[in-house]
Amino acid sequence: MKGRPILGTLAVLGYVIMIVPILFVVSTAFTAGDALTFPPQGVSLRWFGEALAYQPFVGALLSSLQLAVVSTALALLLGVPVTLAIQRGKIPGKSLVEGLFLSPLVVPELVVGLALYQQIMIGLHQTSFVALLVGHTVLLLPYAVRVTGASLALADPAVEEAARGLGASPLRTFFSVTLPLLRPGIFSAGLLSFVTSFNNVPLSLLLQSRQFRTLPVTMLDYVQQSYDPMIAAMSTLILAGTVVIAIVAEKTLGFAKIFGGINK
């Protein structure tokens, strides 16, 4: 930062803008009072108890987890073979295929959501869970392809060739060499996908139903009707979960590696 006062100031400002609202939410979650005000009145865990006892939140949390886990698994199941085909295969038009799988990053989610609503829920009479599953899987594919791709790009192709030379079929090579080499990349792609799905609002908002509603959408609903510290408590719980995931990711892989994969 030394000798770069403008950059330094901007960085500090950035952190302040990011962290201050978070601190505000977290501290109000611990209030003993009834109102969402700052500074909080007293300290208690009262609102955490209420949030965890509030049936719509608990149900929505389970729905969100279910959706995030299944769509992450699907995105990896599709994304990993696609990554391999793009990088190791001899297919023509590789960049076209890659572009196709990265395109969900640029197509507005509302457009994807509307299309899925029309096609899957109205057209095929499927539940909103199915529609959401398709939507989230598509949304997560770019992450799965990019992050595992970045880790595959770092792997020496000669290692896989060595396995072939020693007598392993292509399939055997994949399971006993390629997959173990990719494990850190797949793990970070999974974490990133999970968090992306869990926090998603636009798709989940469009494709919700009375039977299936994700946590962020339910919380949004709640805020529109009542404004009390329970919402801050729920947010704090989500924040804590995210922080745990981030720590696990940092401990196992390091952020630079995970996010380096996306910016590459």
Binding site: R164, G165, A168, L181
Partner: protein, 339 residues
Amino acid sequence: MTSAAEFTGVTQSYGDTVAVENLNLEIEEGKLTTLLGPSGCGKTTTLRMLAGYITPSAGTITINGADATRLPPEKRNLGMVFQSYALFPHLTVADNVGFGLKLRKVPTDKRRELVMANLDLVGLAHLADRKPKALSGGQQQRVALARAIAISPSLLLLDEPLSNLDARLRVQMRSEIRRIQGETGLTVVLVTHDQEEALEMSDTMVVMRAGKVMQTGAPATVFTAPANRFVADFLGYENFLSQSDGSLLTVRPEHLRVSAAGLEPSTAGLTVSAVVRESVYRGVDHIVTMTAADATGTPITLVSTTRRDTLTADAGFLPGDLVVAQARDHEIVRLSADN
């Protein structure tokens, strides 16, 4: 001679680049053959076609007399050592070496025994339980070698196996690989761009240039009788003199002696007048670079590094000195002019 592998009319092109052109080559069984040539001349491509990682654009490759041109690598039973070693990072040294044996369904006890025997062969039995990351470059290299040998391959293929090692280890590994080849009786194909390595290690040298074989032969034959200017140049011949009859004479710098003009001994052989351009002191010898003219009148550069019999601080000559460069008959190689 029995051949372990044979290339017949093999060509490999990548778009407009012809990496290997109409290659005809026999790999003799039980011998160490090196493919020698500058970077980009097609050595790796040749080796990878033999290993089955690339399918030739044209021609056939046989291994032990059977057509293997289109056989995938896992069906060839060849041991390959890659330049990057390519060890499996997630497996221990022992599991790396046992990888091929496991695929061949060798029972656990027998496998352990073979793994240790092969690690012994490369002197690394004590590191069996380490992961590759915990080994030095030289040790990784030996593990890669043990892994390739463990499957009792019909050929052992080595792609520049020594180029990533430091100078001292490299020289040591040369005799090590030779020893292992002697003990196992394996047929070895080794790729290198280092002429010294090829001369020291080969039974047969194959000198390549731009996808074509320039000369094949025993190291002593190739060294003393290079087939053409390219091979001579690659093996360190530096003085080339065109003759009026169209032939080309070549002399190694260490065979060209320099005397002050008028003081030269009268010897049969080659005698050329020259002007010193530069003289660099190097202890046991010095490099004298001279300008002269060959028999056709074309200006040429001559280089001499004649070893001195006595220790001296005398740099020998000064730029501009008139000298005579000489070589004896048996130090002169005559090349045919068309190459």
